[in-house]
């Protein structure tokens, strides 16, 4: 029976929460325009209660959706397409962000949390900022509304039934049909980073609303300067979370996807990078303002731009305008019109309001001295803005086509063929400048710097960093001019900021150290990126391949290597051997061979056909029933160095009926570098093995014969008293041939069976997939003392893999942690400043 109640309840909650957010916005608006303090307070209380009710309902929506997923109510489309029976509970949370509706819900939820915190911490600004908050909530809630007004669909509800979405004859026969299982969560999302990366990023996204709300409230209420103090800690918090969210995503991509890195300049990544980098610029100009009341207009523009870019990012990733697949792209729910209205509404309001008030915004006409901190920060912010602009210009290419089409012009502009080169060749120069400015700017902490003082201050850090980068330059053999400059600038920023940090620590003013710590983190990240990406080396490169033509030679090198099972191949300084397919069993350590289990009718259950040892201990024995993770296959690849066993990697492949082959790398982590290995291709597991025409061999015991170019020999013939699956009568005979097949590395023992049952000849062949051979014991010729073995051959098991070395990638990850520490120190400091002034 279909559970209609729960979905209706959820849908009701959505509609109510939408209405309540509008009502809350209205009440708060009334409060801002009320004539006397009493009325203002009354309306504000109203607005607050309505917003709290709205938040409670949002939690209700989330609970209902979770219950639908948790209870496997596959009559609901959301549960059917994002969950399955075997999904562990902690991944059920990930179902929320696999679907577009769920991720809107997450965003709405964070806005509720943030709205409540603001209401509780800032009474003075409550009414105007909450008008904006509640309006944003109304727009977001409308995305999951799922109602039709005059045939216009508004929002896409997460509570639609399967039968409402999917046209299938089964629903005509039985409208109450419920599939027995869902199609499951995308296996790539079944990763712990995917449990925490989206909420972190969305919290970062959501918090960009706070500085924006303060700016708009400030312009609206003519509080042109008062908004910065409360907005600054939130802007830093938001920047920190977006950085953390992006890096978690990068780390997930590095570990799980196999494009060979952590950042691919995918439009969806860029859509977060651009607002983030503008927000970084905005916190810097806000800090300048706090020091000497300049850069107010710039701060206003940057904060507004950040939020509008977030809306633009939402539009890009969710409207389907990007078209061709990117790892994150959501399916088009037909919300593009609604998303566009959301984007334009806030853009127009913000621009009009700023334009109207522009003349009234106080400015400072002071010329900024080159020897002031403000000048360097301002230069840094300018560079950040240009870096963001370049990425935006490239990412928006599909948008230009769409706009031109609106005017009837057909445009065939496509994204640059190599996105990584297109973006990095510009971004690297930005990074060099940022490193220089962030190193130098810190020296202006104490004002009144002049030329000679500055050079005195800078001399030592500059000399140290030049010396250090020369050493690195000589040892690492850096040869590109931009790389040399980035190396020098990065080391300089590291040294300069460390100098400042040490001074601050000496003065015991650690709470002011946020800036220098964060900049040390950024410098480390830049150096980590320079080495790991700029100097990543394809180990499996085959340069001896045919050259198709001279000008294409770079691209025509083979970056993959073909490994047949148990056949070692030399690859740079390593000798590699693919050892065979491995499986993952629940609660069992290590990766047992696929050969030691037998499948059962239930795809999640297998029976062991041999004992399994792990680190000298027997983990399970023959005949044990075990739970398997059926979608995962691991490929054991052994790396040897100078004949010594170096390490073993287990890259993974998932054969998924919907998505084809999904591969994840395995990474050997060393302190100075990572060795990254992923599968590129395997024999198609869906297709039936094609066997060659059978060959008949007449051989005696001990006589050699060849199968698929391997040497084989019959060791013995044994009479069998029982054969699995065959009932032997008194007259019947069964025997097995024990055949040894030798490869260079290993000896295989195969035991085909010959049977005479009810005077009929039969046999049970054996197949060894690793060798690609099938042997049948087809006859016994007693007079000649020979045995007839029929052999057939097929493709041996193989993998095609790619191995990449990424030097010093750990510097990037450590830099990330340092950056987060810096952000935390800065947030605490700015929040205390706000509290003191409030």
């Amino acid at each position: 029976m279909i559970n209609l109640f729960i979905g209706n309840l959820g849908h009701l909650f959505v509609i109510l929460s939408f209405v309540l957010s509008l009502a809350s916005a209205f009440s708060y608006f009334k409060s801002t325009s009320a004539p006397d303090a009493l009325k203002q307070k009354e309306w504000a209380v109203n607005g607050r209660v309505l917003f709290f009710l709205h938040s409670i309902l949002v939690c209700g929506i989330i609970l209902v959706l979770f219950l639908i997923i948790y209870n496997n109510l596959f009559e609901y489309h959301y549960a059917y397409s994002h969950a399955s029976k075997y999904l562990p509970v902690h991944y059920m949370i990930s179902c929320f962000w696999e679907g577009q509706e769920g991720s809107f819900l997450l965003w709405i939820f964070w806005n509720c949390v943030l709205g409540i915190i603001l209401v509780l911490t800032n009474k003075k600004w409550e009414a105007p900022i909450m008008v904006i908050f509640a309006l944003v909530q109304a727009f977001l809630a409308s995305m999951i509304l799922g109602i039709s007004v005059f045939d216009v669909k508004i929002g896409s509800s997460p509570f639609v039934l399967l039968r409402e979405v999917i046209v299938d004859p089964i629903f005509e026969m039985n409208p109450d049909f419920v599939p027995s299982d869902g199609t499951g969560l995308n296996p790539l999302l079944q990763n712990y980073w995917m449990v925490i990366h989206p909420p972190t990023l969305f919290l970062g996204y959501a918090t960009t609303l706070i500085p924006f709300a303060y700016v708009i409230a400030g312009l609206w209420k003519r509080e042109y300067m008062g908004w910065i103090k409360p907005a600054l800690p939130w802007a830093i918090f938001s920047t920190a979370l977006m950085a953390l969210g992006q890096l978690m995503g990068a780390y997930w991509a590095y570990e799980t996807l196999s494009f060979g890195g952590y950042w691919s300049w995918d439009p969806v990544e860029n859509a977060v990078y651009v607002p983030w980098i503008i927000q970084v610029a905005s916190i810097h100009t806000m800090i300048i303002f706090k020091k000497n009341h300049t850069a107010l207009k710039t701060s206003i523009i940057l904060v507004i731009t950040t939020f509008i870019l977030i809306l633009y990012a939402t539009f890009l990733t969710r409207s389907g305008i990007l078209g061709n697949a990117s790892v994150h792209s959501f399916t088009d729910l037909g919300l593009s019109g609604q998303l566009l209205i959301y984007l334009l509404a806030f853009t127009v309001v913000a621009i009009v309001l700023s334009a109207v008030r522009w003349k009234e915004i106080p400015t400072s006409d002071k010329e900024v001295s080159t020897y002031s901190r403000e000048f360097w920060i301002f230069m840094g912010a300018t560079v950040l803005g240009l870096m963001g602009f370049q990425v935006l210009a490239g990412t928006s290419i599909p948008v230009y086509n769409a706009i031109l089409e609106q005017f009837g012009i057909s445009s065939n502009m496509a994204p640059p063929p190599d996105q990584a080169i297109f973006y990095s060749k510009f971004q690297i120069w930005g990074a060099i400048l940022i490193a220089i400015f962030s190193g130098t700017g810190q020296f202006f902490f104490w004002k009144n710097m002049d030329k000679s003082k500055l050079w005195n201050e800078l001399a030592i850090p500059v000399l140290i960093s030049l010396a250090l980068s020369t050493v690195i330059f000589l040892t690492a053999g850096i040869n590109k001019i931009a790389f040399i400059l980035l190396l020098t600038a990065g080391v300089y920023s590291l040294v300069a900021n460390s100098t400042i940090l040490i001074r601050l620590l000496q003065k015991q003013s650690f709470k002011l150290a946020g800036g220098s710590v964060a900049h040390i983190g950024i410098a480390m990240m830049l150096l980590g990126i320079l080495f790991s990406a700029g100097y990543s080396k394809v180990i499996s490169l085959n340069t001896s391949g045919m050259l198709f033509s001279k000008d294409m030679s770079d691209e025509m090198n083979q970056e993959n290597v073909l490994l047949f099972v148990n056949e070692p191949r030399v690859m740079n300084e390593y000798e590699l051997t693919y050892k065979g397919q491995r499986i993952e069993l629940e609660g069992i350590p290590g990766f047992p061979s696929k050969k030691i289990v037998r499948k059962t009718l239930d795809e999640h259950t297998v029976v062991a056909t041999a004992d399994y040892m792990y680190k000298g201990e027997t983990v399970f024995g023959r005949g044990d029933t075990l739970t398997i993770l059926p979608e995962n296959t691991y490929f054991e690849v052994e790396y040897k160095k100078e004949g010594e066993m170096a390490f073993t990697l287990y890259p993974r492949a998932q054969v998924n009926p919907n998505m084809g082959l999904i591969v994840s790398p395995d990474i050997r982590r060393l302190f100075t570098k990572d060795l990254y290995t992923h599968i590129s291709s395997i024999p198609d597991p869906e297709s039936n093995t094609e066997w060659s025409d059978p060959l008949t061999n007449l051989v005696a015991i001990g006589e050699r014969f060849f199968v698929n170019d391997f040497v084989a020999v019959i060791k013995s013939i044994q009479k069998l008293d029982e054969v699995e699956g065959v009932e032997l009568g008194m007259e019947d005979v069964a025997a097995e041939a024990v055949i040894e097949v030798r490869t260079k590395e290993q000896v295989y023992e195969l035991k085909p069976v010959f049977i005479i049952k009810d005077k009929m000849i039969g046999n049970i062949p054996v197949t060894e997939e690793e060798l690609g051979i099938k042997i049948s014991f087809t006859n016994i010729l007693p007079q000649e003392g020979k045995f007839e073995l029929t052999t057939a051959t097929s493709q041996r098991d193989y993998i095609i893999m790619k191995a990449i070395e990424m030097p010093f990638i750990n510097v990037l990850w450590i830099g990330t942690i340092v950056l987060m520490i810096g952000f935390t120190i800065a947030i605490v400091r700015r929040y205390k400043e706000f509290k003191r002034s409030a």
């Binding site: 696999e98 999917i166 027995s180 370049q390 640059p416 083979q558």
Partner: protein, 138 residues
């Protein structure tokens, strides 16, 4: 002239440079004929061609040939102008190539063969279900 004006001019100059270089580096969606014309005119710009794999009258895909060492693949692709061309891809065959509804190849034309550096595949239903896979009836 004030320092801020100089900075402003430099910023505008860089912004214009960014726009020009974006337009210059952007690729285009073309047909095989246009790609061929580009090659013959001496251009070595990489272009996008959108199309499908060639199928015979029974709807079976034909012409997909991985190399002997399986490290490269050639296939026949029909562009949106219904013209068939051979495509060479210097990487192992993407596992879901044959399931794709639409193929976008990025690369350049050379001597009757399109050399693809990158292939984008659009495959039917990636997890967001549009059709029902009936497994068992309750």
């Amino acid at each position: 002239m004030k320092k801020s004006h100089i900075i402003g001019i430099v910023v505008i100059a860089i912004a214009i440079f960014v726009i020009i270089s974006t337009a210059g580096d952007a690729s285009t969606y073309v047909t095989f004929n246009e790609a061929k014309a580009l090659f013959e005119s001496g251009s070595n710009k990489k272009v996008h061609v959108v199309g499908q794999l060639k199928k015979n009258k029974h709807g079976e895909i034909v012409g997909v040939e991985p190399s002997d060492d399986k490290l490269t693949v050639t296939f026949l692709m029909i562009d949106n102008n219904q013209q068939t061309n051979k495509v060479f891809y210097n990487k192992p065959m993407p596992p879901d190539l044959k399931q794709s509804e639409q193929v976008v190849v990025i690369g350049q034309y050379k001597d009757d063969v399109f050399y693809a550096n990158q292939i984008l595949l659009k495959c039917p239903s990636k997890y967001e279900e549009e059709s029902l896979q009936v497994r068992a009836v309750n």
